[in-house]
């Protein structure tokens, strides 16, 4: 079966410094994969390449077998949606206007959003639980609310794949929980393939079915979460001794310092 998303021999460097050294992995349809690793391991750079904001030095990224850098950009945007960490417009766009921009891949320059586009944006806001914020300006919102707006905009793209860059890094645990539960629901109920970068091992272990552990620009380990989160691997990658705590009903342990 063709993978939903496949990275093939990706090499990337900033000038002399090699950041990604031959990365290859694939994400199956409807999977929920996390990319983890220490600071500087290349996880953000990798996500930037997968989301087309950087071009790899060599190698390719395939969506269902086709190179995303060669496909029509609007087509890719209707299949793969990206939720960036933060994004601020200099202009006071409202929440609704921002979410509606998620329909941009479907609108040509001679037409307006249809009734259908508007109702898709409305239901995306409902899913992300931001309907009550509809006419507020983005800069009046809290970090958690803004993150929801970006998720809603991504949902309005009606994507097959959702890429998220540290979706909970600025948030309190209650908002972390809400956002991650929302992503889990999208994955389980709507069948959206999810690929998420996180620096929080425990969050990644709890929510992701598969993990890609990066170290120094290489994949150190790729597999089911419980096989990646082990004392030995964490010692090897992060250089610290940790304790693992197992909970009843969960295959993957929690990591304690």
């Amino acid at each position: 079966m063709t993978a939903a998303l496949e990275a093939k021999n990706i090499i990337f460097g900033y000038g002399e410094k090699m950041v990604l050294k031959n990365i290859s992995f694939s994400v199956a349809e409807k999977d929920f994969t996390g990319i983890i690793g220490p600071n500087g391991s290349g996880k953000s750079t990798l996500l930037k390449i997968l989301s087309r904001s950087l071009r790899p030095g060599s190698g390719s990224v395939l969506f269902r077998g086709e190179d995303i850098f060669k496909l029509d950009t609007k087509l890719v945007a209707s299949k793969i949606a990206i939720v960036p960490q933060e994004e601020l417009s200099i202009f006071p766009f409202t929440v609704f206007e921002t979410v509606l921009m998620g329909r941009a891949p479907y609108i040509n320059r001679f037409s307006w959003e249809s009734r259908e586009d508007i109702s898709i944006a409305e239901s995306a806001m409902e899913l992300a639980d931001i309907k009550h914020l509809r006419d507020r300006n983005l800069d009046e919102l809290s970090g958690g609310e803004r993150q929801r707006v970006l998720i809603a905009r991504a949902l309005a793209q009606m994507p097959k794949i959702l890429l998220l860059d540290e979706p909970t890094s600025h948030l309190d645990i209650n908002h972390q929980f809400d956002i991650l539960e929302l992503i889990r629901k999208l994955n389980e109920n709507a069948g959206i393939t999810v690929l998420m970068v996180s620096h929080d091992i425990n969050i990644a272990a709890k929510y992701c079915k598969e993990l890609v552990m990066l170290k120094d620009g290489k994949i150190f380990k790729h597999g089911p979460s419980h096989e990646v989160i082990t004392k030995e691997i964490i010692k090897e990658v992060y250089g610290v001794e940790v304790r693992l705590v197992k909970f009843a009903g969960s295959k993957t342990p929690a990591v304690l310092i």
Partner: protein, 340 residues
């Protein structure tokens, strides 16, 4: 969304027409309203022949040779500068961007001044040479500013404005040098550096009207792309907008638009700053609503400013750039402060 465009466009058109009427009637010579109406009606084909010729020929001359062309010129120059400003602000994600502050206008003025001073023929291969030179000048200074301001792949606000100011000063100095050497006198310098709708080359009027309308129409097709690009270039890629291509096309189109405006009016600053901001405060940031609204507001605004120039110290006429800069300077400072 469509309803919003229609609502604000109508609002803008009403404002613009009111300003145009003011521009036609206010001046040192009073024009009787009935005469103005009759003269205009008599110019309309078919029904025009039935209008009795009751006015003095002096009135007709003032209306058709002075006031009306000047008002029409003001409308198109104002609309063009406002739209160019709005587009620059969205593309560069910088609320302080506008063709004058970025130095684009001075490049266009230099191009025009060269053609005029070197007595280059009006047509070069059927293309009117003045707008062509203005366009090239604008494009050159845009590349210069871009190259000067670009640091490590980014365009920081401060360096961008500084580069614009430097280009502006240098090009203005070169214009002054050329004019001084060619013995054209101070009036000519004032015209180029401070702008004026007086003494405009009315032979260029049809090109300015046609060109500006066409370019603004094309820009409007990219209004939604501008919305997405104003959220950031990465976001634009995520949402399927070919940001690099659209940006290049917009830069060329806005240079052309600025060039056309400058070739007939000289350097008029701050219109592209003030008008889009006021338009955005009233109509919101969506470029599909904003661009036409800013165009109409800018058109009316410049005609009003021109009325002030003609009447404030009549019979002395002040350059229009003086009026717009006196209004624009504090506005710029306010925006700069608010940003911090």
């Amino acid at each position: 969304m469509k309803a919003k465009v229609i609502k604000y466009s109508l609002l803008g058109i009403i404002f613009m027409l009111a300003c145009a009427v003011a521009g036609i009637f206010i001046g040192s010579v009073k024009l009787p309203a009935a005469d103005v109406l009759n003269i205009l009606l008599s110019k309309i084909p078919v029904i025009g022949g039935n209008i009795p010729h009751t006015w003095q020929s002096g009135v007709e001359d003032i209306l058709l040779k002075l006031r009306l062309p000047r008002v029409i010129l003001g409308l198109f120059v104002g609309a063009s500068l406002a739209v160019a400003g709005a587009v620059f602000q969205g593309l560069l994600r910088n609320p302080l961007a506008e063709p004058y502050l970025l130095g684009i206008s001075s490049g266009a003025a230099l191009g025009t001044a060269l053609v005029v001073l070197l007595n280059i023929p009006f047509y070069l291969l059927f293309i009117p040479s003045i707008p062509l030179a203005a366009f090239c000048g604008g494009l050159v200074s845009m590349f210069l500013v871009y190259a000067l301001a670009r640091t490590r792949g980014k365009l920081p606000v401060q360096t961008l404005l500084l580069s614009g100011v430097v280009i502006n000063f240098s090009f203005s100095a070169i214009i002054m040098l050329f004019i001084t050497v060619s013995n054209k006198g101070l009036a000519e310098i004032t015209f180029w550096i401070l702008g004026s709708l007086n003494n405009a080359n009315f032979a260029l009027l049809p090109y300015v009207i046609g060109g500006c309308a066409l370019i603004m129409g094309i820009i409007y097709l990219f209004a939604n792309d501008l919305n997405v690009i104003s959220m950031g270039e990465e976001t634009a890629v995520y949402l399927g907008v070919a940001a690099e291509k659209v940006k290049k096309l917009m830069f060329v189109l806005t240079s052309l638009l600025t060039g056309l405006a400058v070739s007939v009016s000289g350097l008029i600053g701050f219109v592209g700053l003030i008008v889009p901001h006021i338009a955005r405060l009233i109509a919101g940031p969506d470029h599909r609503v904003l661009l036409p609204f800013a165009a109409f507001l800018g058109a009316g605004f410049l005609v009003l400013a021109d009325v002030l120039c003609r009447t404030l110290f009549s019979p002395v006429e002040i350059p229009i750039g003086v009026v717009t800069s006196i209004l624009g300077g504090p506005f710029f400072l306010y925006l700069l402060k608010r940003k911090k």
